[in-house]
């Protein structure tokens, strides 16, 4: 059993809202946020997506002078990190930055930059390639910009485990804290990969919904007629501190992160292992890490991508390991799939479920698909005294990460 750490701050910028409060309110309303005819995807087989509700100009104004050099994913990370640090009641200009770690994951990176600069090189020559190409593309730069912005000089890392990156980042940050490598960890993930190439790539892999005639209903986790996920962008950041440190400084603790489990399927590049053993091991490891048993779990934040394969495997996992039917939600019905960011965004939402005793409904779901023996929350938020929750994240490559969180008693 590992020492619990306190979640003392949250920051979110998602298609559901420009901050944590707005995102939570929208997620609790349970309606999809996809918009038809994303201009960046014009002419492609899938042309709809979920975008954050702020223009790049608006985002840049909020970031300030340094925004000019940042890719879109770094801008989102910086804004979410600032919100999380402020929410934690910490003051970046005065803290001991040597003891602050930044762990910001990213699944895909700034591909919009890569695509644009590759086009420039091909069509206009080397002189017309931006000097920002490398600083914007490298997947660790969001973590770098957050470190610069906050004056955080401790370890700075950028885990990449595809759609589990956000959860991996939180788990790594927890380990840095419990190993004494830092006193504060600013952790989460960002993604802004709704680009022509990546969207087409996911479409070619058969992962995207094609429900172009009803886009707000396209992401429908655990529904019988689900047909894939919806591309999304966003960032989620949590501030973690050792529980004893948080208590000493009188911080408000939103929830406790008590366990982390990370495993690999070692099976297939994109398909989950049919027996679900890797995901099950991650869930059992996270619970054991937190000194918990499966029957302690009150609530599951499912990975719930709305793809046929993921939701079937995950439903079977939940029913097998947690047969007492804890409540299940899947925020991707509202938010779409923000890929590398999703695990951090959903960890933050799980913290809010624990804090508020409210489980958001799964968008676009009347009842789980036949054979899915799980208690999906639908239509309305459910009031529930949630003491223990787990958040699942699974990524291409066979990455399985589960976070176990508990309510502050």
């Amino acid at each position: 059993m590992t020492e619990p750490v306190a979640v003392t701050g949250l920051g979110l910028i998602t298609p559901a809202g420009e901050n944590t409060g707005a995102t939570w309110d929208t997620v609790c309303r349970g309606a999809g946020t996809a918009a038809a005819q994303d201009p960046a995807l014009a002419g492609l087989p899938v042309g709809f997506s979920c975008r954050v509700p702020l223009s790049r100009d608006d985002l840049d104004r909020r970031v300030g002078r340094t925004a000019w050099r940042m890719s879109h994913n770094a801008v989102l990370a910086v804004l979410a990190a600032r919100e999380a640090v402020h929410d934690a009641g910490l003051d970046a200009p005065t803290w001991d930055g040597d003891r602050v770690a930044v762990v910001i994951g990213c699944g895909l990176g700034a591909d919009a930059v890569r695509e644009e600069q590759a086009r420039r090189l091909t069509e206009r020559g080397a002189d017309m390639v931006s000097a920002l190409t490398i600083p914007q593309i490298i997947p660790n730069m969001a973590a770098g910009e957050v470190s610069i912005d906050l004056g955080a000089r401790g370890p700075s890392l950028a885990p990449a485990t595809a759609c589990a990156s956000g959860a991996t980042a939180v788990a790594v940050a927890r380990d840095l804290l419990t190993a004494g490598r830092c006193d504060v960890a600013v952790t989460g993930a960002t993604e802004a990969a709704v680009t022509p190439l990546f969207t087409t790539g996911f479409w070619r892999a058969g992962a995207l919904s094609r429900r172009a005639d009803a886009v707000t209903g396209a992401s429908r986790p655990f529904a019988a007629d689900r047909d894939g996920f919806v591309m999304a962008e966003g960032a989620g950041v949590l501030v973690l501190e050792r529980a004893a440190d948080a208590a000493t400084r009188g911080a408000r603790v939103r929830a406790l992160l008590v366990g982390c489990g990370s495993t690999s399927d070692a099976h297939h590049p994109t398909a989950p292992a049919p027996d679900g053993r890797g995901a099950e091991a991650a869930l059992r490891t996270a619970l054991a890490d937190g000194g918990l048993a499966p029957h302690d779990v009150d609530h599951v934040n499912a990975h719930g991508t709305s793809t046929p394969a993921n939701d079937a495997a995950e439903s079977a996992l939940i029913a097998r390991v947690l047969p007492h039917r804890p409540s299940v939600t899947a925020p991707k019905g509202v938010l779409g799939h923000s890929l590398g960011a999703a695990g951090a965004v959903e960890a933050a939402l799980t913290v809010l479920t624990l804090q508020h005793g409210t489980v958001p409904p799964i968008a676009n779901l009347d009842a789980p698909a036949p054979g899915f023996d799980i208690d999906c929350v639908t239509k309305e938020p459910r009031r529930q005294d949630v003491r223990v929750a787990v958040s699942h994240s699974f990524g291409f490559g066979g990455h399985n990460v589960v976070l176990a969180l508990t309510r502050v008693s």
Partner: protein, 86 residues
């Protein structure tokens, strides 16, 4: 070419987020917080906008905005673009 200064001012404001009221002809690019990455990007943007390439001697933190403007006007007029003191 009186539009050159206005265009440079617009580039500094829109591309590099330099507040409009902080931009003055006598300030150096360094005083406007343009670092090495920004200077390289400025050369590219100016090349796209004016069709001429700033000489590397002018893509410097010690060059004033007025010097950049003069240099560009010289280049656009077909001159040598030689460095002049302010």
């Amino acid at each position: 070419m009186p539009d050159t200064y206005d265009t440079i001012r617009s580039i500094l404001n829109s591309a590099f987020r330099v507040p409009d009221d902080e931009i003055r002809p006598d300030l150096t690019l360094g005083q406007l917080d343009l670092d090495s990455l920004a200077l390289a990007e400025l050369v590219l943007i100016v090349h796209e906008r004016f069709g001429v390439k700033i000489d590397s001697a002018y893509a410097s933190r010690s060059t004033t905005v007025a010097q950049v403007v003069d240099h560009l006007d010289t280049l656009r007029a077909g001159g040598t673009g030689a460095v002049t003191s302010s």
